[in-house]
């Protein structure tokens, strides 16, 4: 996957470049808005990581310009502004996700990977399957090994989100944002408890666990050895 990082702080930009390389991705860096926009226009990038405050041209303007030109490359906006309104402005400008500084690299990586494999809008998946676990998005039915599993509505959405991003790390914040639509950080790790409940429903009694905890990062649904 090729990522373009538009970030004016050189040290941060280089840190991201190195880290993304270590994670097996290619990353280019632009340190000002104009260069960033030019590179985003002719490079074939899978994801753009755009800082909001940049010299010469600010991040939101880059995203707006690209969207006006019809580019649909997923954009993750990085910002030091964390207000609810700031997030809304960022997403309204055409950003696909919004991450507030300071962030953990694992969080950034999980979000970049989630964005990169976002299915095209016309592609509607109605059924997810991981191993012997299936989830039907139309009938809201879940079963494992042919056995139906009864889930609460929220548990269904939680599993749906995890399965949509199967094989990729999903962080607690991503779950809070996408399953609960909360953009704050609850004091207690509420997500862990919800996951353990879900796990007891889908993994308990089966030989091979599907829902894995990724230390220091989040969770992942995956069919394969631990």
């Amino acid at each position: 996957m090729r990522v373009l990082v538009i970030e004016d702080d050189r040290e941060t930009a280089q840190f991201l470049q190195r880290s993304l390389k270590e994670s097996g991705h290619a990353a280019d860096v632009a340190t000002d808005g104009d260069t960033g926009l030019a590179m985003a226009r002719d490079g074939k990038y899978d994801v753009l990581v755009v800082d909001r405050m940049l010299p010469r041209r600010d991040g939101l303007s880059i995203v707006q310009t690209l969207r006006q030109e019809g580019a649909r490359t997923p954009v993750l906006i990085l910002s030091a502004l964390s207000g609810v309104d700031d997030r809304v402005t960022g997403l309204r400008a055409g950003g696909d996700d919004y991450l507030t500084k300071p962030y953990a690299y694992t969080e950034l990586l999980a979000r970049i990977e989630a964005l990169a494999r976002r299915p095209a809008p016309e592609e509607i998946v109605t059924r997810y399957q991981i191993g012997d676990l299936t989830l039907d998005r139309l009938s809201h039915k879940v079963s494992r090994g042919g056995e139906p599993i009864l889930l609460q509505p929220r548990e269904f959405r939680l599993l749906e989100y995890l399965m949509k991003h199967a094989g990729r790390v999903v962080t607690r914040t991503m779950l809070l944002e996408n399953v609960w639509d909360y953009h704050f950080d609850p004091q207690t790790n509420v997500i862990d408890v919800h996951i353990s409940r879900l796990r007891s429903k889908i993994d308990k009694g089966f030989e091979k666990p599907l829902l894995h905890t990724v230390r220091g990062a989040g969770y992942m649904i995956r069919d394969g050895a631990d």
Partner: protein, 494 residues
């Protein structure tokens, strides 16, 4: 002198001067017009009377000729009153009458005003004024019939003088009153200016004097005072934030630095390094969390997001939070019960209200989970979440059956960073309740803590229309934590 020049240059004085000028001008115009008209009218009347007399005399002449006319004129000249007569022949010689000679003003043969000196025995010091009509009598005679209007004229003159004096006096009194009013108003405005200068010099607690007259100046002062209170409040909040940052971020920052330093001092042992780095990240995360909460509270108190309020379903918000925490409560051995009526709508920020309710529920679970058991016979401990709409307000009540908070500590519990002694060991930044208080204030609501017998009952009250409250900001209940009270408590607690 400078005081007087300042007074004269003041806008109230200039205004009253302009007002006075306009008044005097109009009064003079009206009076002048009335005077002129009255004079006209009187003169016309006199001339009409004279014309009638002249007609009578002409008839006498036709009957009795010049001799008879002369007799009548001589007769009438002797009568007391204002009648004036003069009969002359073609050479201009006086035949009869009480006028010494024909006044030149009447030489053109038309009636009008003239001046004369009476030929009576009383010596006249000055000319008197009269109205006369000349009449050419056949045979070259000229008859002048007139009326003395000196008295009328003097009356008119007196009237004029009175009017002038009156206007003069009026102007004088007006200027005086203007000066007086200006001095009063100016005095009050100067008072406001002086107070504002004191405040600008740094004494933010000083206030503008209110005269207690409930006029527009008082209202202006009151509004300025309200503004000052708000500014002081914001400044206080800002100062508090910086103090808190200093206090509560420096210590963990220092800890973080110590860890790194210690790891560096040790001989190269990869395991130690790794442990130190992991701890550093952990501490940094904790710092970020605290910092974010602080920033959010500061933003809320600055009302920076007041515009992002929309119609939200508070029932759904509370139900969602309950659902989020239900497994946590269960794991902690607590029952989470909800009493939430459907579809209670308020104008609020969904995210912030969710976060506030989440903090309350989080606290309720955290503090009642590790409380000692209620006893063998007692049922499972409960955390209850209720939504109670009452008129224009909605109460969101989160009650637990934990150890509660002693009455004297309740106010303090709502302050930033205050974590009560017995809960020092529990995790959290200590900002949970202050955030709830800030959210409540932003929405024009309140948060209060009560005894749940046993446990704590936190009541978050939100108005359904947050900006309908602007009218009565001073009538909040005693239990409501006002920012000023909070600050006072903060100062009191050191």
């Amino acid at each position: 002198m400078t005081a007087l020049t300042r007074l004269i240059a003041s806008s109230p004085f200039r205004l009253s001067l302009a007002y006075l000028g306009a008044f005097v001008l109009v009064a003079a115009l009206v009076l002048g017009f009335i005077g002129w008209r009255a004079n006209e009218l009187l003169t016309t009347q006199v001339i009409e009377t004279l014309s009638a007399e002249v007609t009578g005399l002409r008839e006498q002449f036709q009957v009795g000729g010049a001799a008879r006319l002369r007799d009548i004129v001589a007769d009438r000249s002797q009568e007391p009153g204002g009648g004036l007569y003069l009969l002359t022949d073609s050479t201009g010689r006086k035949l009869a009458g009480n006028l010494p000679r024909a006044p030149f003003q009447l030489e053109d043969g038309r009636g009008g005003v003239f001046r004369y000196r009476r030929t009576s025995d009383v010596p006249q010091r000055k000319d008197r004024i009269a109205v006369g009509v000349p009449l050419a009598v056949p045979g070259g005679y000229t008859l002048i019939v007139g009326r003395d209007i000196e008295d009328q004229q003097q009356f008119a003159d007196t009237l004029w003088k009175v009017a002038l004096w009156g206007i003069g006096l009026l102007a004088l009194v007006g200027i005086g009153a203007g000066l007086l009013i200006s001095r009063t108003v100016l005095g009050r405005i100067e008072g406001i200016t002086a107070a504002v200068r004191t405040i600008m010099a740094g004494d933010l607690s000083s206030r503008i004097p209110v005269a207690g007259m409930d006029d527009e100046l008082d209202r202006l002062s009151a509004s300025l005072n309200d503004m000052l209170s708000r500014i002081e409040e914001l400044m206080g909040a800002l100062r508090e934030v910086s103090n808190n940052i200093a206090h509560d971020l420096r210590t963990p920052l220092n800890r973080l630095r110590n860890n790194a330093e210690e790891a560096l001092r040790n001989p190269d042992d990869v395991a130690t390094y790794r442990a130190a780095l992991a701890k550093t990240i952990e501490e940094a995360d904790e710092l970020i969390r605290t910092f974010n909460s602080l920033l959010l509270i500061a933003r809320l108190e600055g009302r920076a997001i007041a515009e992002s309020l929309t119609q939200v379903d508070v029932s759904a918000i509370v139900a969602d939070v309950a659902e989020l925490y239900e497994p946590v409560a269960e794991e902690a051995g607590l029952a989470l019960a909800t009493k939430v009526p459907d579809g209670v709508m308020i104008t609020a920020n969904r995210e912030l209200v969710s976060q506030a309710v989440a903090n309350l529920v989080d606290n309720a679970i955290k503090y009642s989970a590790d409380a000692p058991a209620l006893g063998e016979a007692a049922p499972e401990r409960k955390v209850t979440i209720e939504v109670i709409p009452s008129g224009a307000l909605v109460d969101i009540v989160v009650a637990d059956e934990g150890p509660g908070v002693p009455a004297e500590d309740r106010q303090r519990a709502l302050q930033r960073f205050v974590r009560l002694e017995q809960s020092r060991s529990a995790p959290g930044s200590g900002l949970g309740l202050s955030l709830v208080a800030a959210v409540a204030r932003l929405h024009g609501g309140s948060i209060r803590l009560e005894d749940n017998h046993p446990g704590l009952r936190a009541i978050l009250t939100l108005p359904s229309e947050p900006f309908a409250r602007v009218a009565e900001p001073t009538t909040s209940s005693a239990l409501t934590l006002s920012p000023a009270a909070e600050r006072a408590a903060a100062i009191a607690s050191g």
